[in-house]
Subunit: 310 residues, 2 copies
């Protein structure tokens, strides 16, 4: 029905993006709330439950019929069990979020992983539309990927598939937060680009990755060095992704993708140089921006209502 909606929440480290999405995929209402993770994981869970309840009431008050709920969180997520296994960003460890929401609200609920549902949204509604095999790569504070085939994202056996940021591309290279050295994310995430520029510039002042890209384009040799190393690292990481997944299209999202052509043009060239038997994929910037997670939360809620397994 035209006024049937699902409640969609994308829970991040700082904010929670919320929406009511109808069956045609239209966002009928949206809002943003603070995560307040400094209050601890129990308080965050309580906030999620309250926001969800509030959105259900908002829907009802405006003549919409809430049918189901989709919630996405970062980290390691066991979609099938509905458990947020581990997320440093929001302090979750083995939180049975799907069950908690279902018990409190009484509506069918789906739990998803932020990057996987973002990939789902990009593949079905965004830049990857029309492609059957899409590799979505989110480059922000960290780097993670979602492999989406025919509109389904692969979660892996323990909800930990697609951790492209932790593929070692520079053995013995810079230390990564995961404990290994030379992970892609330690060189090419937005955070790494920013940190590596600060380490090498005399001022040592924090500079965002977007600014490093701009400085590199303007001829700053330190910025050009850091940015060039990030591009090379991303090309090496993507090559590994192509070699194992063989996608038709690679969709690049996350904060670093906001650099646009300054990222995609040199990245495409560096990737082409490396290809041997691998087929060159369409390389595109994500189309949904930071709405992808929330739209994806809507998709998994709708999928669950339609009996599509997580």
């Amino acid at each position: 029905m035209a006024d049937d909606v699902v409640v969609a929440l994308d829970v991040g480290g700082t904010g929670i993006k919320c929406a009511l999405v109808d069956a045609a995929g239209q966002v009928r209402h949206s809002e943003r709330r603070a995560t307040g993770r400094e209050r601890g994981s129990e308080a965050v869970v309580t906030t999620i439950l309250e926001i969800t309840e509030g959105l259900v009431r908002t829907a009802e008050r405006t003549g919409l019929r809430p049918e189901g709920i989709g919630i996405v969180v970062p980290g390691v997520v066991d979609e099938a069990a509905g458990v947020a296994t581990w997320s440093a960003n929001v302090g979750f460890r083995d939180v049975p979020l799907r069950q908690l929401v279902t018990e409190r609200i009484g509506l069918p609920t789906a739990l998803g992983h932020d990057v996987r549902v973002g990939g789902l949204a990009e593949a079905r509604l965004g830049a990857g539309r029309g492609y059957r095999h899409v590799l979505f790569v989110a480059i922000g504070t960290g780097i993670a990927a979602a492999h989406v085939v025919d509109g389904t994202a692969f979660a892996g056996a323990h909800g930990a598939a697609g951790e492209l940021g932790h593929v070692v591309i520079r053995p013995g290279g810079p230390a990564c937060g995961c404990g290994l050295r030379g992970c892609l994310e330690a060189i090419a995430s937005a955070a790494a680009v920013s940190r590596r520029y600060a380490e090498r510039s005399p001022a040592g002042t924090p500079t965002g990755a977007d600014r490093v890209a701009a400085l590199a384009a303007a001829g700053d040799p330190t910025a050009a060095g850091v940015w060039g190393e990030a591009i090379d690292a991303l090309a090496d990481g993507l090559l590994t992704g192509l070699t194992l997944f063989d996608p038709e299209a690679v969709v690049v999202g996350g904060g670093l993708a906001e650099a646009g052509d300054a990222l995609l043009n040199p990245l495409g060239a560096a990737l082409r140089e490396r290809l041997r038997f691998q087929r060159e994929p369409a390389l595109m910037r994500a189309a949904l921006g930071d709405e992808a997670g929330c739209l994806g939360a809507g998709l998994i809620a709708r999928d669950a209502l339609n009996g599509v397994p997580a």
Copy 2:
């Protein structure tokens, strides 16, 4: 029916393994034939057609009812289109093998990729039985992997997924046949182990990888060096596989797996050392040996009859 069989062919660079497999998965007849690839790809295609026809007649003569055909080849295979896209081993380039066999024999035919159907067979019938997410890694002349989830192997958009042997794990390392440097396969395939030992030993005599493993175990320092580097490289390559696929079980097959515990024990230890957030998978030797491809050919033939898409 008990006497319904499928015709299964596993076409390799030197030999073709053939079988008649009934619906219960029992091999009712098997034989091996020469590929004769030195005669060129057209002659190999003719041989495949003749062998298939002969197997159909053998089935009929012995009171079996041939229902369908499964043929697997190495290289890049587009299962959905039924085309052997590229295979250096047998000289194929864009051979529409499924259509050729269907036209000649008149039975429904499925075309598959040797490693993917081997993975399928190991996951459904062999060492991976009981696991939903299996990464099958074949280590022979080359190295390739098949990612099998719920009994389905992922082919990728162009039939080229799972090329684990061409993941670069030693940037700037030894040259690989694909044109890159430092690919896993250039260090850890059976052929690479044998070649690297010959390069470093004064005699320079060709020595099989199994013999290198035995010499390493006996304390030969050159052999121990080559074997240890192969183990480390395999652990690095598998770590990348775990990071991207998150499987429950890793099944190691191919010629090198015949080293048994001399391979799996140090490989398991080296892999455990490298794990950070990744879950440790069950690490097992393949159970079906060189029958995996032929049994897998039987499986895809049966799947096609049952309407399971390639």
